[in-house]
Amino acid sequence: MQVKIRKEIIKTELLIIGGGIAGLQAAITAGQEGTSVIVAEKADTRRSGSGANGNDHYMCYIPECHGDDFKRVISEINEGMEGGPWQDQIMLRKMMKRSYGIIQKWESYGIDMRPTGKWVFEGHAMPGRQRYHLKYDGQNQKAVLTQKALENGAQIMNKVFINEVLVNEEGRAVGAIGFSLAEDDSEVIIFQAKAVLLATAQAMRMYPHGNPTFIFNTHSCPAAAGGAAIGYRAGARLVNLDVPYIHAGVKGFARSGKATWIGVLSDIHGKPVGPFLTKPNRETGDAMMDIWPGIFGERLDNGTGPTYMNCTELSEEDLKYQEKAFESEGIDSITEYCEQRGIDLRKSMIEFGTYDYSLAQRGIDINLDGMTTVQGLYAAGICCGNVRGNITNASVWGDVVGEHSSEYVKQVEEFDISEHPLIKEKIDFYMELMTKKIGAHWLEVNSTLQRIMNDYVGLKVRSETLLTAGIKYLADLKRYSVSELKCENSHELMRTLEVLDLIDLAEAVALTAKNRQETRGNHKRVDFTYTNPLLNDKFQTIEKTKDGIKMAFRDKEK
């Protein structure tokens, strides 16, 4: 197969990499400000990313519903899934303050934010507490956001994978290198931009998931494959990679959306396992899953499991309600699966499992304007590491970047990237990959990467010796991969570059895990079994500098 090169350099003010929730929101806002915008999306923005087919919970603060005690709001959110020690509190406050504004915008675009006509808050909640997750119907969200971005003048280039951000000698982001997947021959496309936004989501496929031989069986969209590495290579600082984030949901058929299930977590006899619910409750859901997503794995390990989602006591009305919510959430495959295999939730409980580390909301370090440590390079959504909040995170920070970048592009000059040395280097590399006769398939590399990460940089135990070995094996894997990988066509070229992104990020995970000489959360060091109070208010960062890789502990609130 060939590598073609598009002669004309594509120029824009703001280049957005990834047309998911964050990317499209940024495109809409920047477009409204009159900024010229291109969205480069490797799939099709109408149905791409983790919000492709819907979402149904939007964490928000609506003063008319939640009252004026904003301090209390923040403190309650900190007790839930999206809060806690890995959330930068200043960023959290800014995000929550802007959340209602986005909800109003989304409603005006045509997304159904109150399917019952009222603001309804359900799920991800504790009994007796105020609830912050607006129950909405997001099944058309990607089509609507795409339409709105187009109306506001954004140009959307689907089936375009971006591999590198170009940075000039002053250290400013000035463009990107990507290629089209539309044909089997890939066509390299060079972008020149005044500002670049990375909105590429998390790094699925770095750790084994539902079923290790089927690596696309992941709880979030497996197309999210380490885009934060593009920022890392461009010099952007990453943060919080070392303390694993874990999620939970249906075992076997990995799928996010656990809060859309409104049954009770139960043991094999159908008896509740947690303290919060004895009967199903639509309003709160079973908070056990948010507070302790490790419950499923731990109960298997100690022999008291398995643990099930028990919907057998739902009323007919609640069952219908849940089924409808699966559509809003984009997880109606679960319903179809159950229908095809004759599983009836009225009498059968579904086993839930703890999923492996996914790097969600562990990644690029951004400031209050959404800018990374590289001038002109922004990041938004779950590829970022110092903000949490999923849809809220993606939409609010996308909006912030849309606004800020529109000001920024007015202040900087265009930079001619035609002679940038990375362009030739990358094209030569793609050509080599595409013309090699014998070589390694990307899946060989991805599966070995997962094995290394599971065994040496895993969730159960970490230690100096395991991590040292892991770092060495990752370096070997990278060296072999760069020289041995080959691809047959543009699709395989994308998968190949994704796996190289995953290795870059995996190295950063392993290095920071080794450097954190304490136990904290899911980072369990057998050689440092205590938690060091001096690190309580710190985030660990890692970045590539001219002098090599630099790691540091920065104050949580900058």
């Binding site: 495959s333 004759g342 009836d344």
Partner: protein
């Protein structure tokens, strides 16, 4: 093979290939003809986006056993209105 395309119903509009977030479905050119091929079945996320976009109802899902859901009947569950009877 997760999405199964019924050739008799398919009008080759290519929308499924365009929309698939994982690039599982591709359009292949064979002698002047354009074929819709489920080329990378193992990369399917079973998200049903292709089904939702196919206006000819030509796609059905086969959920592979690699994605088997584990379930257990509750002995005490009231089955009087159970659909499965």
């Amino acid at each position: 093979m997760p999405p199964v395309i019924d050739k008799a119903k398919c009008i080759k509009c290519e929308i499924c290939a365009q929309i698939c977030p994982l690039d599982v479905i591709r359009v292949e050119k064979k002698d002047q003809e354009r074929e819709i091929v489920v080329k990378y079945p193992y990369e399917c996320w079973h998200c049903r986006a292709c089904i939702k976009e196919c206006s000819s109802n030509a796609i059905t899902m086969r959920y592979p056993l690699s994605h088997m859901m584990f379930y257990m009947d509750v002995p005490t569950a009231d089955r009087s209105d159970c659909k499965c009877k």
